[in-house]
Amino acid sequence: MKNFKLFFLFSRNALRTTLQARSGVWFFMIGKICRFAFFFLMILLIFGKTKIVRGYSLPQMLVFYLTFNLIDTTAQILFREVYRFRYQVISGEFDLTLAKPFHPFVKILIGGVDFLDLLLLIPYLLLTLHFAWQTHAVTAFNLVAYFVLLFNSLLIATAFHIVVLALGILTTDVDHTIMIYRDLTGMARFPMQIYQEPLREIFTFIIPVGLMMTFPSQALFNLLKPSFFALAFLISFTMIFLSLRLWNAALKKYQSWGG
């Protein structure tokens, strides 16, 4: 309960900070909308001149892309504070977080909700449902499976962000670990079937961005084998477990910068 109160307090503060820079808010919103629209238009452009790409139709390809945006945006809404973590480590601010009587994840993982992305989430969801409906493959069962796997994807995203936090402590040499995560997940903006082997297997199961971003859409189109459901959850729980182990190991190595 205390953690929930703190989460809401940090979120309110994050909203106030965001509203301090009003022109920045507009520019970022324009940038995010443009980025989304450009990829969307690129897909339309491709399908304007061809009917099928690797077995997928236009509505299916759009659902893959929109699902990627749903997961990516939700992760950004929840875990925006991770982007600022490296600065906290190298400036010594992280000491202050550790000294507080609550779990550090409340501050460094979910302590900076991004309200700009929250606004984009609703149109993404509506567009996903719209194009999913156009595929004529959606049943109530598939839809439930889709949302269950979306939840599973968020578990994987959580694990990835915890890994980024741990790496932020273990190495100060790399200043863009979170952006490497973003680029890797960006590979699953389109179905993994576009990639050649062994890249497809690597990015589906070993670095499971494919599993994270494309399994929900495949379930929606009834293209996912039932055994892959279990595998998806097995991988996400394993990732959460391993990421927490890595975090604990990193925390033991943490050396305060003093002040």
Partner: protein, 259 residues
């Protein structure tokens, strides 16, 4: 002249201090290229032509774009904004070097290093994925487009940083620019795939002269080059005028406490 060459050399040496960070930055770029590469590869799965492009031409275009991006878009000018905001720029202004030349030579160092990596990446991707590269033609003319594209990019990036003279919200406009430039400069697809009206409208902006024209000229696409080259020169002059005006006015309005 020697001191400016030293600046370029020091810029390269700076990267050697953060080797891992730089290498991972290049890995991020390769990931981004692979996404576009495999998407287009998948489009040509069941067809040999797409909107007048053969598979080899399109895949060569995507690979050469990475090469051109490294030269044209690579820049160190983004750090100027931070220097203005925290006052560090004063140290730079007191030194017996021309400020703009200093950053021009830093950019040369940056581009050289990125160019070396881009060449290696080009041949790695070509070899691993067994791509038939379309021979390069019109090199002198392509170099002219390279030169103007690089200068336009330098002045736009400079102008975006000089916004720092009037506001601390410097990252948001750059974010919008980066989003626009990757799509509208032709990094993801040749711009002539767009509807004619949109394509013609885009030719009035500086974006196609940064990446699209240098690559298309180099690959021997039969484009009327005289008018684009004229527009490219015109945009060079316009962006120079904007950046220089901002620099002069910014200098007059700038004040900071002593350091």
């Amino acid at each position: 002249m020697n001191k400016y060459l030293t600046i370029a050399a020091v810029t390269i040496k700076e990267y050697s201090a953060y080797r891992l960070s730089f290498i991972l930055w290049r890995v991020r770029i390769v990931i981004s290229v692979l996404v576009t590469f495999f998407l287009w590869n998948a489009v040509f799965d069941k067809q040999t032509h797409f909107a007048g492009y053969q598979k080899d031409t399109m895949l060569t275009y995507i690979l050469v774009v990475n090469f051109v991006n490294s030269i044209v878009l690579g820049t160190k000018t983004a750090e100027i904004a931070g220097d203005i905001n925290d006052g560090t720029i004063i140290n730079r202004l007191l030194k017996p070097i021309n400020f703009l030349s200093y950053y021009a030579y830093r950019d040369i160092g940056d581009k050289l290093l990125n160019l070396i990596f881009a060449v290696v990446e080009f041949f790695l991707i070509k070899t691993i994925f067994n791509i038939t590269i379309v021979p390069v033609v019109n090199l002198p003319l392509a170099l002219a487009f390279f030169a103007t594209g690089t200068i336009i990019s330098f002045f736009i990036n400079l102008a975006l940083s000089l916004i720092g003279f009037w506001t601390t919200e410097v990252w948001a406009p750059r974010f919008v620019f980066l989003t626009l430039v990757f799509f509208l400069a032709g990094s993801y697809f040749p711009l002539d795939l767009l509807p004619k009206f949109a394509y013609r409208l885009l030719l009035l902006t500086p974006f196609p002269y940064l990446v699209y024209f240098p690559v298309q000229i180099m690959l021997g696409k039969r484009l009327a080059w005289q008018e684009p080259l004229l527009f490219s020169c015109l945009w060079t002059a316009i962006t120079y005028f904007i950046a220089i005006t901002m620099w002069r006015r910014g200098n007059k309005s700038f004040s900071f406490w002593g350091r």
